[in-house]
């Protein structure tokens, strides 16, 4: 296990390095230089001196390799750079203030998804072609075709028009007012988790279908175990591995989905920050947010792989 873990961890170093190079290159793709872009917005009159000042302030007057090395040096020490607009606030503070809310949203979404998807998938696997099976297959097909933002609007529409229920206004953090926060986060989490619920239900169904035909299931029944124990302890326990992997991967995708869901439901998370900064062309902040998200995803994938190796000996010795 230790060797497997070390090998897996060593592999992410070049990936993370390349991730930083890609983000850096993309942000340098912009036509002209950031200083010019910033100054030409608004009234667009500026002197050459102002331009050079801003270039020096942004550090874009230096050779690109120097800029990259300097930026990486900062990253390693947890310095994500300074925002252009928000009166030079450090980006790490901006991101740190908000990332918890995004994480909360993502975790809630995946919890809701798993909570609905696993029972749905299991039931439709043990009773194929039943009403529940058809229902869950339709949900699965519809779920992966509805774009996240439309799912969000539909959730609002159904709950507000159908049930007259609307989440309380004004965002409150989890530790300030847990009950109000959860009421507010429920709708966005439901909308965000819808796709994943569909996907996980599909995976659960197909992996349970395979397991049900296994010899050890028959053995468990033959030695007189109750049906529920056979299904949960012998069946579900083996089906958990693929479900776990998929959920881990989906968790990465959720970060993308939060951008949209946060902007619909006005959650002040990292996604809304990204949108704001894209409109403001606040390049240091955009760059930092993308890095934080991409590196988080690399790390989550690593954790999922390690967990998988820990749970299934066949993986780590392969």
């Amino acid at each position: 296990m230790r060797q497997y873990a070390l090998k897996r961890i060593a592999l992410i170093i070049p990936t993370v390095l390349l991730v930083t190079i890609i983000v850096f290159t993309v942000m340098r793709l912009l036509p002209g230089d950031p200083a010019l872009v910033i100054l030409s917005e608004g009234d667009a009159s500026f002197t050459q001196e102002e331009l050079e000042d801003l270039r020096r302030q942004l550090g874009t007057d230096r050779p690109i390799v120097v800029q990259y090395v300097d930026w990486i040096g900062g990253l390693v020490q947890g310095d994500l750079g300074t925002s252009i607009w928000r009166s030079g606030q450090p980006v790490s503070k901006l991101v740190g203030d908000r990332i918890f809310r995004t994480l909360e949203l993502a975790v809630l979404a995946i919890l809701i998804a798993v909570l609905f998807a696993v029972p749905l998938g299991v039931i439709s696997a043990i009773k194929p072609d039943s009403v529940i099976d058809y229902f869950s297959r339709v949900i699965a097909l519809v779920g992966i075709s509805i774009p996240t933002f439309f799912a969000g609007l539909l959730v609002v529409l159904v709950l507000s028009r159908g049930f007259g229920w609307l989440p309380p206004l004004g965002y409150e953090d989890l530790w300030d007012n847990p009950w109000k926060n959860l009421q507010q986060m429920f709708l966005p989490a439901l909308a965000l988790g819808f796709y994943d619920m569909a996907f996980i239900a599909r995976v659960t169904r197909s992996s349970m279908m395979e397991i049900i035909r296994e010899d050890y299931m028959r053995t468990a029944r033959a030695k007189g175990l109750g049906e529920r124990i056979v299904l949960v302890r012998h069946g579900l326990k083996n089906a958990v591995l693929p479900i776990l992997t998929i959920s881990g991967w989906q968790f990465g995708r959720l970060f993308g989905g939060t951008v949209i869901i946060e902007s619909i439901f006005k959650v002040p998370g990292i996604g809304t920050l990204l949108i704001e900064t894209v409109f403001q062309r606040d390049f240091p902040t955009i760059q930092a947010i993308i890095i934080v998200i991409a590196v988080s995803i690399v790390i989550i994938n690593l954790l999922v792989d390690l967990l998988y190796g820990l749970l299934d000996p066949r993986i780590r010795y392969a």
Partner: protein, 309 residues
Amino acid sequence: MTTQTPNDALSARNAAAVDDAVLSDMRPRPTLVGNILRFCRTKPLGGISAAIIILTVLAAIFAPVIVPHDPLDLVHAPFVAPSAVAWLGSDDLGRDVFSRVIAGARISMYVGIMSVLIGITLGTAIGILSAYVGGVLDLTIQRIVDALMAFPAIIMALGLMAALGASVNNIVAALVVILVPGAIRVIRSQVLSIKELDYTLAAQAIGARPWRIMLRHILPNVTASYIVLSTITLGLAIVIEASLSFLGVGVPPDVPTWGGMLTEGASQYIRNAPWLAVFPGLAISVIVFSINFLGDALRDSLDPRLRGR
């Protein structure tokens, strides 16, 4: 009664064999139309999905002729509910929602089809090269693919749009960057096994040059995957375009798009004028649903190796 010599029997058998050969030559060879009909018979839902997609593409092409009103003109009173006059209602300014939904198909289809054509073609070319040449080139390309795949599609698209600026062709460019890595990975894994097959080895043995082998022997054998990949990623491309327009960083706001219509109709009017959000949302969902369904059906009938990916 004549007696048969062994020779006679042999020649009779030969004649039968010749007849068989002639017959099998005369049997109709599978034509494109025949293949399509067979596909529709074995996969009826795939056929229906294909019909919906073709209709949407036609609607996109002929939108200026089909639409009852100019999608930008204020032809109705604001917030007219769906009726015989305004089939899908009118928006907050009094523009015709039906005309705007039809016009919105143009952007979705253009962006989706262009980005998939360029992205999957590029990905296939790089994937073949990477797997066939191998060595340092393969290793380098694979690490870059790993890194590119660490970005969620929307996040990557937002970053690229911030750098490139909002325009239709920049969305296509951003989507190409998003679609290429996945295509490289799928095609590469197939080429890795194709290049060990007898016919590739035979081609190498008679001294065919690498370019010839890649183009004449490997490329035809990944065509099925190419078609399936293109179909499946088309749905993704359309959703990302709609998401970008929804967030306001995609197509300029005066152009009607499905994503853009959802932004306008979305939060403010969802309670009182739900048709503003529901129809463009349905348009996206139905087309993406059809594309996913067609993709699954094509995969099952063209390329069983891709199953479960």
